[in-house]
């Protein structure tokens, strides 16, 4: 984790969505950092989220997943860039988990107040979305998902079992195919 973090580039531009061109520069840096993070994840077999933004880079959506006891748990991710960004950290949301755990604000905003926010404050403007994912979302999932699973609030992704089954039976079946299928039906498959 530390190694991953140190390999992520730190951001330099201190600009929010209302800062015009400067925000574009900032956005570029955000993307570069995210691309780097994803690449590292892919190389180390520790890939754990997908993300994309709108054209302006103010609204971000994607998916996060967590594998616990050989089962994959996957959730939608959604957040907006606050007006005061980067002085204020983005409020990462997992809407599906709203009401399932105490470590969460209304609307599925995960609770990062205690650990992550002070860290962020200290690192304005060096930290960006990639850092928020690595230092905020990652640890939150690692801490919360096992609890939720044990409390039987979550059921694993059946598709994951299916996927392993397909791959085991027919190694030629490419992952893309499965994933493509998975991507379409993910809402249905994740049941609560």
């Amino acid at each position: 984790m530390k190694k991953t973090l140190s390999s992520l580039p730190l951001l330099t531009v201190n600009a929010g969505p209302r800062d015009g061109d400067k925000w574009k520069d900032r956005l570029k840096e955000e993307y570069t950092a995210l691309i780097k993070y994803i690449q590292i994840g892919k190389e180390n077999d520790s890939d754990w989220f997908q993300i994309e933004s709108n054209k302006e880079g103010t609204v971000w959506t994607g998916k996060v997943w967590y594998i616990y006891e050989m089962k994959k748990y996957e959730f939608d991710l959604k957040f907006d860039i606050p007006v005061s960004y980067p002085a204020t950290a983005p409020e990462l949301m997992l809407p599906e988990l709203d009401g399932k755990t105490a470590k969460m604000y209304r609307g599925g905003k995960i609770c990062l107040t205690v650990h992550f926010n002070p860290l962020w404050q200290r690192n304005v403007p060096k930290f960006g979305i990639a850092h928020a994912m690595a230092l905020g979302m990652g640890p939150w999932l690692a801490a919360e998902i096992p609890d939720l699973v044990q409390a039987s609030f979550l059921s694993p992704m059946e598709l994951n079992d299916l996927l392993t089954g397909i791959q085991g039976a027919d190694p030629t079946c490419s992952r893309q195919e499965v994933e493509g299928w998975q991507g379409e039906s993910v809402d249905v498959l994740v049941s609560f």
């Binding site: 956005l27 691309i35 180390n44």
Partner: protein, 578 residues
């Protein structure tokens, strides 16, 4: 904006890339363990525990190592190079050796056939190898190669060391000091002994063997012989000190016909003869010798003393061989020598002595009589032997009348005389001794008396001097007092000493003095009068003043009166005796 779109597209593309599947090290290891436990692969784990090698590859690596090291390498070096347990390396090496005859292993070193020849070139003494060729190098059973020079050098060292040895030594101790080549050492020693180059014997096997040099055996034997010849015997403990093992058997082997092995020593037959001779001589001459002693004893005590000394000397001389003599006698008891007749003699003599002792009281009295007679006749030419034997004869005759026995044989009388003489001599010595000691004590007592007297006299003169300063009346009274005290003390002192000399009890009172006078003999009176004269003389010489003279006169008066009384009394005593 384009750039951002490009980046967005890139992000999307990156996200769509396939994740490279990755196994953690732990997983890999678990899989490997599973494979190994199922016997699907055979692997050797290296010493770090993070590498595996198949046995086939290990063998290849070992071969490579041998080649890399120029065909000669220690197996431990191979082990460090391939970094697996030595056991695996050895297993593989065994396989290689069994398959490949060109490779051999000597003392943990792997050699290829090519290297053995090259090996000789690396020996420092290259010239000798070249001269002698390869034939000079020998190969022993274990595949070791030696050059002749090496062997010769070892042999020379061994030869030198063993030639210098003078006492038994174990091979191991020599090896530990001189670091001989162990593989050559014992063989060389054996061969040198066989050749006769080193003289000695080797007992035991291998490095534990003990080498005993011949010179040691010889010197041991000669030492034992010398001792034996000089002393006529040799004790086993002495022999053991000479490092002779099992001395009894050794000595009987070496001097078998020269003597006898006894319990604790080996005695020469010469010494035995001597002892026997001695006993015989003693037995026969005993009587004569004692006769002579008796005679000289009676003539003068000094001579007797000398004779005693002689006796003691003789006894001292005999003491050394005493044990041997005893043992010789034992030997004789065994009946090895036909000395029965002599023994008979000894027994008879002993029996006679016993008989004589049985007479008890009679002997005692006769001893006293002889003693008395001897003393009375001292200084005159007197036939003591004849007189004594005559006396004994008479006595025996008178007693035999009572007991109806015949003791008249000359021999028997002789024996009795001898026995009585020894007793008489003892008594004589006792008396002489007591006389000597009493005279010594007397002298000490006289000295004491003298010092006391001088002290008293000094006091007396001092007081008299003092008195002379007083008026006449007082002086006269004081002088009287002085007479009563100090002068009386002096007289008492003299009297007491005299009384002691004559064995009379004395207490210092006037009545006692009076009583005492008759019991003092004439001799004592003489002493007293002479004492009186002496006192007068001292007083006269003391300066001659009147007072002193008067005092001396008073003192002499006292003494004289004392003496005269005594004289009279003693005269009376004598007459009454008459």
């Amino acid at each position: 904006m384009d750039e951002i779109e490009a980046l967005q597209a890139l992000l999307g593309a990156v996200q769509k890339q396939e994740t490279r599947p990755r196994l953690s090290e732990r997983n890999c290891r678990e899989l490997l363990i599973k494979l190994l436990s199922n016997g699907l692969v055979t692997l050797i784990v290296n010493l770090d525990g993070n590498e595996y090698v198949t046995p086939e590859h290990l063998e290849k690596e070992i071969r490579d190592e041998i080649v890399v090291n120029g065909g000669r390498v220690k197996i431990t070096d191979i082990q460090t190079a391939v970094n697996v347990d030595l056991r695996h390396v050895q297993d593989r090496m065994d396989k290689i050796l069994s398959e490949d005859s060109s490779i051999s292993m000597i003392d943990g070193e792997v050699l290829t056939s090519g290297i053995e020849i090259r090996h000789h070139d690396s020996i420092p003494d290259r010239n000798s190898i070249a001269k002698n060729g390869l034939h000079s190098a020998r190969k022993d059973g274990r595949g070791m190669l030696y050059t002749d020079t090496y062997i010769e050098r070892q042999e020379a060292c061994i030869r030198g060391t063993f030639s210098a040895l003078t006492r038994p030594t174990t091979l191991a101790s020599l090896q530990s000091i001189f670091y001989f080549d162990e593989s050559l050492f014992d063989q060389k020693v054996e061969s040198l002994i066989k050749e006769g180059r080193i003289k000695g014997t080797l007992s035991g096997k291998g490095m534990r063997a003990v080498y005993t040099p011949e010179i040691f055996i010889r010197s041991q034997l000669s030492a034992a012989k010398n001792f034996f010849n000089q002393n006529g015997y040799i004790e086993y403990s002495t022999a053991e000190k000479m490092l002779i093992n099992n001395p009894k058997s050794f000595l009987s082997k070496e001097f078998g016909n020269l003597g006898f092995a006894l319990r604790s020593c080996f005695v020469s037959s010469r010494l035995v003869e001597q002892c026997i001779e001695h006993i015989r001589a003693k037995a026969t001459a005993d009587g004569d010798r004692l006769h002579a002693a008796l005679k000289s004893d009676l003539v003068s005590p000094a001579a007797a003393q000398d004779d005693d000394d002689d006796d003691d000397g003789g006894r001292g001389k005999k003491k050394g061989g005493k044990k041997n003599v005893k043992e010789v006698e034992e030997e004789e008891e065994d009946g090895k020598k036909g000395k029965g007749s002599k023994r008979q003699e000894l027994k008879e003599a002993a029996a006679k002595q016993k008989e004589k002792k049985g007479k008890g009281g009679g002997d005692e009295s006769s001893a006293k009589k002889i003693d008395k007679g001897g003393k009375q006749q001292q200084g005159s030419s007197f036939d003591y032997d004849g007189e004594t034997s005559k006396f004994v004869k008479d006595f025996l005759k008178s007693s035999s009348d009572d007991h109806e026995m015949d003791f008249a044989s000359e021999d028997f009388i002789q024996e009795v005389v001898v026995s009585l003489r020894s007793k008489a001599k003892d008594i004589y010595h006792e008396i002489a001794n007591s006389l000597f000691t009493s005279s010594a004590t007397k002298r000490v007592k006289n000295d004491e008396l003298q010092s006391k007297f001088v002290l008293l006299y000094q006091q007396l003169s001092l007081f008299r001097k003092g008195i002379s300063f007083f008026s006449d009346e007082t002086a006269a009274a004081m002088e009287k007092y002085l007479l009563k005290t100090l002068c009386t003390d002096i007289v008492n002192l003299v009297l007491e000493s005299q009384c002691k000399a004559h064995g009379i009890s004395f207490s210092a009172t006037a009545e006692d003095r009076q009583k005492l006078q008759p019991s003092l003999t004439q001799e004592a009176a003489g002493t007293l009068s002479s004492f009186q004269e002496l006192v007068v003389k001292i007083l006269n010489s003391d300066g001659g003043d009147e007072a002193a003279m008067a005092e001396a006169a008073a003192l002499s008066e006292t003494v004289r009166s004392l003496a005269s009384t005594k004289e009279g009394l003693s005269k009376a005593c004598v007459s009454s005796e008459k």
